[in-house]
């Protein structure tokens, strides 16, 4: 380092302590409260004391900020290393081909999913785990799990699927008395207070595993008993009545929808 550089550094430090402090605080992680705290405190410090006060912070930043930053970096590296596209995830998918095949009955194109998405879709829809649980298993975040679940091409089928829940004892009177939009909450778009199809499917499987009423069976019922799963889309061929759509009261005929590419889209698909 030349003398001129050192001189410039000293001048910047003494004349612009605010700038120097902001540069030093870059050692802290972005969301660390110390960043805001020290910048706010500097405004209280008398102007002539500021260079010395900033110099005091160097010690703290070295002892506290850098280790904190290193911990964050290490955690990020570990998380990336345990990203789902690794051998652990792939091995966890072995032996579950039948369940993966069962997902195709929901309209999910399993062949086009990455290993990550397969794992996430299996865990959330079939096993009924929450996004937080799956994130814990993957060493990722719940937000990343939700993104992996809803990212194309998983989204095409995952949003469409739902678990039909035929009641053990039919209650036609109660069913008829409900308004149309309350019969199948899965068909409601999320912005109207409804739940997304995948979450509802996960809830349905949860209920099935716990043996709660409203679901036909316990355990991993989804892939092995695809008849209980009624897709909402066009390909929902079958003997069961369509559980789709009809989410909006007052609409008697399903309004044909098109997606942004102009392709026909079945009604009832949540765009959330």
């Amino acid at each position: 380092m030349s003398w001129s550089t050192l001189l410039v550094a000293i001048l910047v430090f003494s004349l612009l302590p605010d700038v120097a402090l902001r540069l030093l605080l870059l050692a802290y992680p972005r969301t660390h409260p110390r960043r805001r705290e020290l910048i706010a405190e500097l405004k209280i410090v008398p102007r002539q004391e500021r260079p010395f006060w900033v110099a005091e912070q160097v010690c703290m930043i070295l002892c506290e900020g850098l280790p904190t930053r290193l911990r964050v970096v290490r955690a990020t590296v570990l998380r990336r290393r345990h990203r789902p596209d690794n051998a652990a995830v792939i091995s966890s998918l072995k032996g579950r081909e039948l369940e993966l095949a069962g997902l195709t009955t929901l309209g999910i194109d399993v062949a086009r999913l990455t290993e990550t998405q397969r794992y996430v879709v299996l865990s959330r829809i079939v096993d009924g785990h929450t996004a937080e649980e799956v994130a814990g298993a993957l060493g990722s975040t719940a937000g990343a799990v939700r993104v992996a679940q809803h990212r194309r091409p998983a989204v095409a089928g995952a949003r469409r699927c739902a678990v039909s829940a035929p009641p053990r004892t039919p209650r036609p009177a109660a069913h008829q008395s409900k308004p149309e939009h309350q019969r199948h909450p899965v068909a409601q778009p999320a912005h109207r207070g409804g739940v997304g199809g995948v979450d509802h499917a996960a809830q349905g499987v949860h209920r099935a595993r716990r043996g709660l009423p409203g679901t036909p069976a316990a355990g991993r019922a989804l892939p092995t008993a695809p008849a209980q799963v009624v897709p909402h889309g066009i390909g929902a061929a079958g003997s069961s009545p369509p559980q789709t759509t009809a989410a909006r009261p007052g609409r008697t005929t399903p309004h044909p929808k098109t997606d942004r590419h102009g392709r026909a889209q079945p009604a009832g698909i949540s765009n959330s």
């Binding site: 409260p33 110390r34 805001r36 705290e37 020290l38 910048i39 706010a40 405190e41 405004k43 209280i44 410090v45 006060w53 005091e56 912070q57 160097v58 010690c59 703290m60 002892c63 506290e64």
Partner: protein, 103 residues
């Protein structure tokens, strides 16, 4: 928390006015502890539940500056820091601080 000169001085400054909000710079001035020591100590107290923190209401700030972070003693903090001072009172290492135990 270890019993050191800095921790005893910070405890005295905090317990001098245990119910009010305290600011980092003011605490540093009152206790005579350098801010490089004070802030990590406050963070440890926060982790142990002796203090709570918060941010100043921006609408209440008259000058042009960002909101500051304040610290408040919890009931547990009052007990613990009181115990720390009581223990320091009998310790000869802190004899020079005896005059400031007037609280």
């Amino acid at each position: 928390m270890r019993k050191t000169h800095a921790s005893v001085q910070v405890a005295m400054a905090l317990l001098a006015n245990p119910t009010s909000r305290r600011w980092g710079y003011e605490l540093s001035k009152e206790s005579g502890v350098r801010s490089g020591v004070l802030y990590p100590m406050l963070t440890r107290m926060l982790d142990q539940g002796w203090l709570t923190d918060g941010w100043e209401d921006p609408t209440s700030i008259e000058e042009k500056r960002p909101p500051r972070r304040y610290y408040e003693l919890t009931d547990e903090g009052k007990l613990r820091l009181g115990g720390l001072l009581a223990a320091a009172r009998d310790d000869r290492r802190f004899a020079s601080l005896n005059l400031r135990f007037a609280w």
